[in-house]
Amino acid sequence: MDKVIVAQELSLAYSNSEIIINKASFSINSGEFVFITGASGSGKSTLLKSLFGALKPKQGSLVVGGVELHGASRSKLNLLRRHIGIVFQDYKLVKEWTIEKNIMLPLLINGYVNSVAQNQVDKLLKHVRLNHQIGKYPLELSGGEQQRVAMARALAHNPILILADEPTGNLDDYSSQLIWNLLEGANNQLKTTVIVVTHHIPKTLNVAYKHFHIEYGSINEIC
Protein backbone atom coordinates (compact mmCIF):
# COMPACT_ATOMS: atom_id res chain seq x y z
CA MET A 1 0.00 0.00 0.00
CA ASP A 2 1.27 3.52 -0.84
CA LYS A 3 2.43 5.63 2.04
CA VAL A 4 0.85 9.09 2.11
CA ILE A 5 2.86 10.27 5.09
CA VAL A 6 6.29 9.18 6.25
CA ALA A 7 7.97 10.83 9.24
CA GLN A 8 11.46 9.92 10.35
CA GLU A 9 13.10 11.30 13.48
CA LEU A 10 10.71 14.22 13.17
CA SER A 11 11.10 17.08 15.66
CA LEU A 12 8.70 20.01 15.74
CA ALA A 13 8.96 23.32 17.55
CA TYR A 14 7.72 26.85 17.13
CA SER A 15 10.58 29.28 16.61
CA ASN A 16 12.63 29.87 19.77
CA SER A 17 10.44 27.62 21.90
CA GLU A 18 11.00 24.14 23.28
CA ILE A 19 10.61 20.99 21.20
CA ILE A 20 6.98 19.84 21.06
CA ILE A 21 7.38 16.63 19.06
CA ASN A 22 10.70 14.93 19.63
CA LYS A 23 12.26 12.59 17.06
CA ALA A 24 9.03 10.82 16.13
CA SER A 25 8.87 8.23 13.37
CA PHE A 26 5.62 6.97 11.90
CA SER A 27 3.89 6.37 8.60
CA ILE A 28 0.34 6.52 7.30
CA ASN A 29 -0.86 4.51 4.33
CA SER A 30 -3.12 5.74 1.59
CA GLY A 31 -6.81 5.24 2.47
CA GLU A 32 -6.28 4.91 6.20
CA PHE A 33 -8.46 6.58 8.82
CA VAL A 34 -6.23 7.89 11.59
CA PHE A 35 -6.99 9.42 14.97
CA ILE A 36 -4.43 11.49 16.82
CA THR A 37 -5.21 11.93 20.49
CA GLY A 38 -3.40 13.41 23.46
CA ALA A 39 -3.83 15.82 26.32
CA SER A 40 -4.29 19.54 25.71
CA GLY A 41 -0.97 21.08 24.73
CA SER A 42 0.55 17.70 23.90
CA GLY A 43 1.23 18.73 20.28
CA LYS A 44 -1.70 17.22 18.34
CA SER A 45 -2.55 20.39 16.44
CA THR A 46 1.14 21.16 16.00
CA LEU A 47 1.62 17.80 14.31
CA LEU A 48 -1.40 18.44 12.08
CA LYS A 49 -0.07 21.87 11.10
CA SER A 50 3.22 20.30 10.09
CA LEU A 51 1.34 17.89 7.78
CA PHE A 52 0.17 20.73 5.54
CA GLY A 53 3.38 22.71 5.85
CA ALA A 54 2.16 25.48 8.16
CA LEU A 55 4.98 24.48 10.51
CA LYS A 56 8.23 23.23 9.05
CA PRO A 57 10.13 20.38 10.72
CA LYS A 58 12.85 21.49 13.10
CA GLN A 59 14.74 18.26 12.53
CA GLY A 60 14.24 14.99 10.71
CA SER A 61 12.21 14.21 7.66
CA LEU A 62 8.50 14.54 6.91
CA VAL A 63 7.22 13.45 3.52
CA VAL A 64 3.57 14.14 2.67
CA GLY A 65 2.15 13.06 -0.67
CA GLY A 66 5.68 12.56 -1.96
CA VAL A 67 6.81 16.07 -0.94
CA GLU A 68 9.63 16.45 1.60
CA LEU A 69 8.41 19.28 3.81
CA HIS A 70 11.79 19.95 5.41
CA GLY A 71 12.95 22.95 3.38
CA ALA A 72 10.10 22.72 0.85
CA SER A 73 9.64 25.81 -1.30
CA ARG A 74 6.46 27.90 -1.18
CA SER A 75 5.38 26.72 -4.63
CA LYS A 76 5.83 23.05 -3.67
CA LEU A 77 3.77 23.63 -0.54
CA ASN A 78 1.04 25.28 -2.60
CA LEU A 79 0.96 22.32 -4.98
CA LEU A 80 0.71 19.89 -2.06
CA ARG A 81 -2.03 21.89 -0.33
CA ARG A 82 -4.16 21.75 -3.47
CA HIS A 83 -4.52 17.99 -2.82
CA ILE A 84 -5.36 18.33 0.86
CA GLY A 85 -8.68 19.20 2.49
CA ILE A 86 -8.43 20.84 5.89
CA VAL A 87 -11.10 21.24 8.58
CA PHE A 88 -10.38 23.51 11.53
CA GLN A 89 -12.06 23.71 14.90
CA ASP A 90 -12.67 27.44 14.27
CA TYR A 91 -13.90 26.68 10.70
CA LYS A 92 -11.67 29.31 8.99
CA LEU A 93 -14.35 30.47 6.55
CA VAL A 94 -13.99 33.76 4.68
CA LYS A 95 -16.64 35.91 6.38
CA GLU A 96 -17.22 38.26 3.48
CA TRP A 97 -17.91 35.41 1.05
CA THR A 98 -21.15 33.46 0.71
CA ILE A 99 -21.07 29.80 1.75
CA GLU A 100 -21.07 28.75 -1.92
CA LYS A 101 -17.99 30.85 -2.63
CA ASN A 102 -16.27 29.42 0.44
CA ILE A 103 -16.92 25.87 -0.75
CA MET A 104 -15.83 26.81 -4.26
CA LEU A 105 -12.44 28.11 -3.08
CA PRO A 106 -10.37 24.91 -3.48
CA LEU A 107 -12.08 24.21 -6.81
CA LEU A 108 -11.12 27.60 -8.20
CA ILE A 109 -7.57 27.27 -6.85
CA ASN A 110 -7.35 23.90 -8.64
CA GLY A 111 -8.44 25.52 -11.89
CA TYR A 112 -11.98 24.11 -12.20
CA VAL A 113 -14.24 25.88 -14.68
CA ASN A 114 -16.88 28.01 -12.92
CA SER A 115 -19.86 25.96 -14.13
CA VAL A 116 -18.27 22.66 -13.07
CA ALA A 117 -17.34 24.18 -9.70
CA GLN A 118 -20.91 25.45 -9.25
CA ASN A 119 -22.33 21.95 -9.92
CA GLN A 120 -19.97 20.45 -7.39
CA VAL A 121 -20.93 23.10 -4.82
CA ASP A 122 -24.65 22.39 -5.35
CA LYS A 123 -24.04 18.66 -4.81
CA LEU A 124 -21.99 19.28 -1.67
CA LEU A 125 -24.52 21.66 -0.18
CA LYS A 126 -27.16 18.92 -0.49
CA HIS A 127 -24.69 16.43 0.94
CA VAL A 128 -24.09 18.54 4.05
CA ARG A 129 -27.81 19.42 4.19
CA LEU A 130 -27.34 23.13 3.73
CA ASN A 131 -28.99 23.61 0.34
CA HIS A 132 -31.66 25.73 2.04
CA GLN A 133 -28.98 28.19 3.18
CA ILE A 134 -27.71 29.19 -0.29
CA GLY A 135 -26.62 32.85 -0.53
CA LYS A 136 -25.95 33.19 3.18
CA TYR A 137 -22.73 34.34 4.77
CA PRO A 138 -20.89 32.25 7.40
CA LEU A 139 -21.81 34.53 10.28
CA GLU A 140 -25.51 34.03 9.48
CA LEU A 141 -25.17 30.31 10.25
CA SER A 142 -24.85 28.37 13.50
CA GLY A 143 -21.49 26.87 14.55
CA GLY A 144 -22.59 23.41 13.43
CA GLU A 145 -23.69 24.72 10.05
CA GLN A 146 -20.43 26.63 9.59
CA GLN A 147 -18.48 23.46 10.30
CA ARG A 148 -20.56 21.62 7.70
CA VAL A 149 -19.62 24.33 5.19
CA ALA A 150 -15.96 23.86 6.15
CA MET A 151 -16.42 20.11 5.69
CA ALA A 152 -17.96 20.60 2.25
CA ARG A 153 -15.02 22.85 1.33
CA ALA A 154 -12.56 20.18 2.48
CA LEU A 155 -14.29 17.56 0.31
CA ALA A 156 -14.93 19.77 -2.73
CA HIS A 157 -11.81 18.98 -4.75
CA ASN A 158 -11.67 15.24 -3.91
CA PRO A 159 -8.42 15.54 -1.96
CA ILE A 160 -6.07 12.63 -1.37
CA LEU A 161 -5.83 13.60 2.29
CA ILE A 162 -8.24 15.21 4.74
CA LEU A 163 -6.83 16.78 7.89
CA ALA A 164 -9.34 17.66 10.61
CA ASP A 165 -8.42 19.48 13.79
CA GLU A 166 -11.03 18.73 16.45
CA PRO A 167 -13.80 19.06 13.85
CA THR A 168 -16.63 18.38 16.30
CA GLY A 169 -15.11 20.19 19.28
CA ASN A 170 -17.82 22.85 19.58
CA LEU A 171 -20.73 21.11 17.89
CA ASP A 172 -24.09 19.68 18.92
CA ASP A 173 -24.75 15.95 18.54
CA TYR A 174 -26.60 16.26 15.25
CA SER A 175 -23.84 18.28 13.54
CA SER A 176 -21.12 16.09 15.09
CA GLN A 177 -22.74 12.93 13.75
CA LEU A 178 -23.10 14.51 10.33
CA ILE A 179 -19.40 15.46 10.28
CA TRP A 180 -18.31 11.94 11.29
CA ASN A 181 -20.59 10.45 8.62
CA LEU A 182 -19.04 12.71 5.98
CA LEU A 183 -15.48 11.81 7.03
CA GLU A 184 -16.41 8.12 7.12
CA GLY A 185 -18.03 8.40 3.69
CA ALA A 186 -14.97 10.06 2.17
CA ASN A 187 -12.75 7.33 3.58
CA ASN A 188 -15.03 4.40 2.65
CA GLN A 189 -16.24 5.51 -0.76
CA LEU A 190 -13.44 7.68 -2.11
CA LYS A 191 -10.58 5.96 -0.24
CA THR A 192 -9.43 9.34 0.99
CA THR A 193 -6.87 9.24 3.79
CA VAL A 194 -8.40 10.95 6.82
CA ILE A 195 -6.43 12.20 9.82
CA VAL A 196 -8.44 13.55 12.73
CA VAL A 197 -7.08 15.25 15.81
CA THR A 198 -9.54 14.75 18.65
CA HIS A 199 -9.93 14.26 22.37
CA HIS A 200 -12.57 11.53 21.97
CA ILE A 201 -12.85 8.84 19.33
CA PRO A 202 -16.57 8.39 18.52
CA LYS A 203 -17.94 4.97 19.39
CA THR A 204 -20.42 4.92 16.52
CA LEU A 205 -17.77 4.99 13.80
CA ASN A 206 -18.07 2.18 11.22
CA VAL A 207 -14.53 2.26 9.93
CA ALA A 208 -11.23 0.59 10.78
CA TYR A 209 -8.80 3.13 12.09
CA LYS A 210 -5.27 3.69 13.26
CA HIS A 211 -4.73 5.50 16.54
CA PHE A 212 -1.70 7.61 17.48
CA HIS A 213 -1.40 9.01 20.98
CA ILE A 214 0.94 11.89 21.73
CA GLU A 215 2.52 12.12 25.14
CA TYR A 216 5.60 14.02 26.33
CA GLY A 217 6.67 14.78 22.75
CA SER A 218 6.55 11.21 21.50
CA ILE A 219 3.99 9.66 19.17
CA ASN A 220 2.86 6.15 20.04
CA GLU A 221 0.67 3.93 17.92
CA ILE A 222 -2.07 2.26 19.93
CA CYS A 223 -3.30 -1.04 18.55
Binding site: S75, R81, I86, K92, V94, W97, P106
Partner: protein, 270 residues
Protein backbone atom coordinates in the same frame (compact mmCIF):
# COMPACT_ATOMS: atom_id res chain seq x y z
CA UNK B 1 -23.20 50.10 0.90
CA UNK B 2 -20.43 48.12 2.60
CA UNK B 3 -18.62 47.82 -0.71
CA UNK B 4 -18.84 51.60 -1.29
CA UNK B 5 -17.41 52.21 2.20
CA UNK B 6 -14.53 49.82 1.39
CA UNK B 7 -13.57 51.97 -1.58
CA UNK B 8 -14.35 55.41 -0.23
CA UNK B 9 -11.44 55.88 2.17
CA UNK B 10 -8.75 55.18 -0.43
CA UNK B 11 -10.59 57.07 -3.18
CA UNK B 12 -10.78 60.18 -0.98
CA UNK B 13 -7.11 59.94 -0.01
CA UNK B 14 -6.09 59.50 -3.65
CA UNK B 15 -8.33 62.38 -4.70
CA UNK B 16 -6.71 64.81 -2.27
CA UNK B 17 -3.26 63.88 -3.63
CA UNK B 18 -4.44 64.29 -7.22
CA UNK B 19 -6.09 67.62 -6.43
CA UNK B 20 -3.02 69.05 -4.70
CA UNK B 21 -0.88 67.85 -7.60
CA UNK B 22 -3.10 69.39 -10.27
CA UNK B 23 -3.39 72.65 -8.31
CA UNK B 24 0.41 72.75 -8.24
CA UNK B 25 0.49 72.24 -12.04
CA UNK B 26 -2.05 75.02 -12.54
CA UNK B 27 -0.06 77.44 -10.39
CA UNK B 28 3.12 76.51 -12.27
CA UNK B 29 1.40 77.18 -15.58
CA UNK B 30 -0.11 80.44 -14.37
CA UNK B 31 3.25 81.68 -13.12
CA UNK B 32 4.96 80.67 -16.35
CA UNK B 33 2.27 82.45 -18.36
CA UNK B 34 2.60 85.51 -16.13
CA UNK B 35 6.38 85.46 -16.53
CA UNK B 36 6.00 85.31 -20.31
CA UNK B 37 3.62 88.25 -20.14
CA UNK B 38 6.04 90.19 -17.94
CA UNK B 39 8.99 89.35 -20.19
CA UNK B 40 7.09 90.89 -23.11
CA UNK B 41 6.73 94.14 -21.17
CA UNK B 42 10.16 94.05 -19.63
CA UNK B 43 13.17 95.43 -21.49
CA UNK B 44 16.68 96.65 -20.83
CA UNK B 45 17.94 99.95 -22.23
CA UNK B 46 21.49 99.99 -23.57
CA UNK B 47 23.58 102.97 -24.60
CA UNK B 48 26.29 102.15 -27.10
CA UNK B 49 29.06 104.12 -28.79
CA UNK B 50 28.67 102.21 -32.03
CA UNK B 51 25.89 100.49 -33.90
CA UNK B 52 25.03 96.97 -32.72
CA UNK B 53 22.52 94.51 -34.12
CA UNK B 54 20.43 91.70 -32.57
CA UNK B 55 22.99 88.97 -33.40
CA UNK B 56 25.76 90.90 -31.72
CA UNK B 57 23.62 91.34 -28.60
CA UNK B 58 22.75 87.63 -28.65
CA UNK B 59 26.46 86.81 -28.81
CA UNK B 60 26.99 88.93 -25.70
CA UNK B 61 24.19 87.08 -23.86
CA UNK B 62 21.83 84.50 -25.33
CA UNK B 63 18.88 85.70 -23.26
CA UNK B 64 18.48 88.67 -25.66
CA UNK B 65 15.70 87.93 -28.12
CA UNK B 66 15.24 91.29 -29.79
CA UNK B 67 17.16 94.55 -30.10
CA UNK B 68 15.26 97.64 -31.17
CA UNK B 69 17.03 100.87 -31.79
CA UNK B 70 15.48 103.91 -30.10
CA UNK B 71 15.66 106.93 -32.34
CA UNK B 72 16.61 110.18 -30.56
CA UNK B 73 14.36 112.15 -32.95
CA UNK B 74 11.71 113.06 -30.38
CA UNK B 75 14.30 114.55 -28.01
CA UNK B 76 16.12 116.34 -30.86
CA UNK B 77 12.81 117.72 -32.11
CA UNK B 78 12.26 119.46 -28.78
CA UNK B 79 15.77 120.97 -28.91
CA UNK B 80 15.76 121.82 -32.62
CA UNK B 81 13.63 124.93 -32.18
CA UNK B 82 16.62 126.74 -30.69
CA UNK B 83 19.26 125.21 -32.99
CA UNK B 84 20.40 125.55 -36.53
CA UNK B 85 19.83 122.62 -38.88
CA UNK B 86 23.57 121.99 -39.24
CA UNK B 87 23.96 121.85 -35.48
CA UNK B 88 21.08 119.38 -35.24
CA UNK B 89 22.72 117.13 -37.81
CA UNK B 90 26.00 117.39 -35.93
CA UNK B 91 24.24 116.52 -32.68
CA UNK B 92 22.67 113.49 -34.34
CA UNK B 93 26.10 112.23 -35.40
CA UNK B 94 27.68 112.69 -32.00
CA UNK B 95 24.81 111.13 -30.03
CA UNK B 96 25.35 107.50 -28.89
CA UNK B 97 23.03 104.71 -30.03
CA UNK B 98 20.10 103.73 -27.78
CA UNK B 99 18.71 100.20 -27.80
CA UNK B 100 15.75 98.55 -26.18
CA UNK B 101 16.48 94.86 -25.58
CA UNK B 102 13.68 92.32 -25.25
CA UNK B 103 14.46 89.02 -23.53
CA UNK B 104 13.67 85.34 -24.23
CA UNK B 105 11.98 84.90 -20.86
CA UNK B 106 11.36 86.74 -17.65
CA UNK B 107 14.85 86.71 -16.10
CA UNK B 108 15.84 85.97 -12.54
CA UNK B 109 17.76 88.69 -10.65
CA UNK B 110 20.95 86.68 -11.23
CA UNK B 111 20.32 86.56 -14.96
CA UNK B 112 19.78 90.33 -15.00
CA UNK B 113 23.03 90.91 -13.12
CA UNK B 114 24.90 88.69 -15.56
CA UNK B 115 23.30 90.37 -18.58
CA UNK B 116 24.30 93.77 -17.25
CA UNK B 117 27.89 92.75 -16.60
CA UNK B 118 28.14 90.98 -20.00
CA UNK B 119 26.87 94.10 -21.76
CA UNK B 120 29.18 96.43 -19.87
CA UNK B 121 32.11 94.14 -20.65
CA UNK B 122 31.61 95.03 -24.29
CA UNK B 123 33.78 98.05 -25.14
CA UNK B 124 31.02 99.72 -27.20
CA UNK B 125 28.44 99.71 -24.41
CA UNK B 126 28.67 102.69 -22.10
CA UNK B 127 25.52 102.40 -20.00
CA UNK B 128 22.84 99.80 -19.16
CA UNK B 129 19.54 100.50 -17.46
CA UNK B 130 17.99 97.25 -16.21
CA UNK B 131 15.19 98.59 -13.94
CA UNK B 132 16.41 95.99 -11.44
CA UNK B 133 14.52 97.27 -8.43
CA UNK B 134 11.06 97.03 -10.02
CA UNK B 135 11.95 93.72 -11.60
CA UNK B 136 13.21 92.19 -8.32
CA UNK B 137 10.04 93.09 -6.42
CA UNK B 138 7.77 91.44 -8.98
CA UNK B 139 10.04 88.42 -9.31
CA UNK B 140 10.23 87.87 -5.54
CA UNK B 141 6.46 88.16 -5.26
CA UNK B 142 6.00 85.48 -7.90
CA UNK B 143 8.59 83.28 -6.23
CA UNK B 144 6.88 83.69 -2.87
CA UNK B 145 3.51 82.76 -4.33
CA UNK B 146 4.97 79.71 -6.04
CA UNK B 147 6.76 78.57 -2.87
CA UNK B 148 3.65 78.97 -0.74
CA UNK B 149 1.59 76.86 -3.15
CA UNK B 150 4.38 74.24 -3.39
CA UNK B 151 4.61 74.04 0.39
CA UNK B 152 0.84 73.72 0.67
CA UNK B 153 0.80 70.91 -1.93
CA UNK B 154 3.63 69.09 -0.16
CA UNK B 155 1.88 69.34 3.22
CA UNK B 156 -1.37 68.03 1.72
CA UNK B 157 0.53 65.17 0.03
CA UNK B 158 2.34 64.22 3.26
CA UNK B 159 -0.85 64.30 5.36
CA UNK B 160 -2.64 62.22 2.73
CA UNK B 161 0.21 59.71 2.55
CA UNK B 162 0.00 59.33 6.33
CA UNK B 163 -3.74 58.72 5.95
CA UNK B 164 -3.01 56.15 3.25
CA UNK B 165 -0.56 54.35 5.55
CA UNK B 166 -3.24 54.24 8.23
CA UNK B 167 -5.59 52.83 5.63
CA UNK B 168 -2.91 50.26 4.77
CA UNK B 169 -3.07 48.88 8.33
CA UNK B 170 -6.83 48.55 8.11
CA UNK B 171 -6.54 46.78 4.76
CA UNK B 172 -3.80 44.54 6.14
CA UNK B 173 -6.13 43.46 8.94
CA UNK B 174 -9.14 43.13 6.64
CA UNK B 175 -7.44 41.05 3.96
CA UNK B 176 -5.07 39.04 6.13
CA UNK B 177 -7.66 36.39 7.13
CA UNK B 178 -8.83 35.78 3.56
CA UNK B 179 -5.27 35.60 2.25
CA UNK B 180 -4.31 33.12 4.99
CA UNK B 181 -7.31 30.89 4.29
CA UNK B 182 -6.60 30.93 0.54
CA UNK B 183 -2.98 30.08 1.31
CA UNK B 184 -4.09 27.06 3.38
CA UNK B 185 -5.71 25.64 0.26
CA UNK B 186 -2.64 26.27 -1.89
CA UNK B 187 -3.58 29.50 -3.67
CA UNK B 188 -0.61 31.08 -5.43
CA UNK B 189 0.49 34.54 -4.30
CA UNK B 190 -1.09 36.27 -7.32
CA UNK B 191 -4.45 34.62 -6.64
CA UNK B 192 -4.33 35.48 -2.92
CA UNK B 193 -3.58 39.11 -3.70
CA UNK B 194 -5.82 39.42 -6.78
CA UNK B 195 -8.75 40.90 -4.83
CA UNK B 196 -6.48 43.45 -3.23
CA UNK B 197 -4.93 44.58 -6.53
CA UNK B 198 -8.34 44.68 -8.18
CA UNK B 199 -9.60 46.90 -5.36
CA UNK B 200 -6.51 49.14 -5.65
CA UNK B 201 -6.85 49.48 -9.44
CA UNK B 202 -10.59 50.19 -9.25
CA UNK B 203 -9.99 52.86 -6.58
CA UNK B 204 -7.23 54.46 -8.67
CA UNK B 205 -9.56 54.49 -11.70
CA UNK B 206 -12.43 55.99 -9.72
CA UNK B 207 -10.21 58.68 -8.15
CA UNK B 208 -8.66 59.60 -11.54
CA UNK B 209 -12.08 59.70 -13.17
CA UNK B 210 -13.48 62.03 -10.48
CA UNK B 211 -10.39 64.26 -10.70
CA UNK B 212 -10.69 64.30 -14.50
CA UNK B 213 -14.36 65.29 -14.32
CA UNK B 214 -13.76 67.97 -11.70
CA UNK B 215 -10.85 69.62 -13.52
CA UNK B 216 -12.48 69.34 -16.94
CA UNK B 217 -15.50 71.13 -15.46
CA UNK B 218 -13.46 73.74 -13.57
CA UNK B 219 -11.23 74.53 -16.55
CA UNK B 220 -14.25 75.61 -18.58
CA UNK B 221 -16.20 77.20 -15.73
CA UNK B 222 -17.07 80.84 -16.57
CA UNK B 223 -16.04 82.13 -13.12
CA UNK B 224 -12.55 80.58 -13.42
CA UNK B 225 -12.02 81.80 -16.98
CA UNK B 226 -13.23 85.25 -15.91
CA UNK B 227 -10.70 85.33 -13.06
CA UNK B 228 -7.86 84.41 -15.41
CA UNK B 229 -9.00 86.97 -17.94
CA UNK B 230 -9.06 89.67 -15.25
CA UNK B 231 -5.35 89.15 -14.58
CA UNK B 232 -4.76 88.87 -18.30
CA UNK B 233 -3.46 85.29 -18.27
CA UNK B 234 -4.30 82.90 -21.04
CA UNK B 235 -3.52 79.32 -20.00
CA UNK B 236 -5.00 75.84 -20.34
CA UNK B 237 -5.87 74.77 -16.80
CA UNK B 238 -6.28 71.12 -17.67
CA UNK B 239 -4.95 69.17 -20.64
CA UNK B 240 -7.48 66.32 -20.93
CA UNK B 241 -5.02 63.72 -22.27
CA UNK B 242 -1.64 64.61 -20.77
CA UNK B 243 -2.93 65.65 -17.35
CA UNK B 244 -5.37 62.77 -16.94
CA UNK B 245 -2.61 60.32 -17.89
CA UNK B 246 -0.33 61.84 -15.23
CA UNK B 247 -3.13 61.79 -12.62
CA UNK B 248 -4.01 58.19 -13.45
CA UNK B 249 -0.33 57.19 -13.40
CA UNK B 250 0.18 58.69 -9.95
CA UNK B 251 -3.07 57.19 -8.58
CA UNK B 252 -2.30 53.73 -9.92
CA UNK B 253 1.31 53.88 -8.67
CA UNK B 254 0.20 54.80 -5.14
CA UNK B 255 -2.51 52.10 -5.10
CA UNK B 256 -0.20 49.39 -6.44
CA UNK B 257 2.52 50.31 -3.92
CA UNK B 258 -0.12 50.18 -1.17
CA UNK B 259 -1.38 46.75 -2.28
CA UNK B 260 2.18 45.43 -2.70
CA UNK B 261 3.11 46.58 0.81
CA UNK B 262 0.12 44.67 2.19
CA UNK B 263 1.03 41.52 0.24
CA UNK B 264 4.69 41.73 1.28
CA UNK B 265 3.75 42.49 4.90
CA UNK B 266 1.33 39.56 5.10
CA UNK B 267 2.56 36.77 7.36
CA UNK B 268 0.88 33.41 7.26
CA UNK B 269 -0.09 32.31 10.72
CA UNK B 270 1.53 29.03 11.82
Amino acid sequence: MKSVRNHLSLVIALLSILFSMQVFFIVERSIDAYKTKLSKNYSVIVVSKKELNKDEFSKINIIVSQAQEITPDSVIKRLSSDMKNTNVELLKLTLPKFYKLSLEHYPSPEEIKKLKSDLLANSAVTKVEDFAHTHDTVYKLLLLFKNVVSLFSIVVAIVTLLLIFKELRIWQYKHSERMTIMGLFGAALWLRSAVLFRLAIVDALVASFIAFGAFAYLSSHPWITQQLKSIDIDIVLFYPIEDSLILFGVAIAISIVLASLIVLGHKEEA
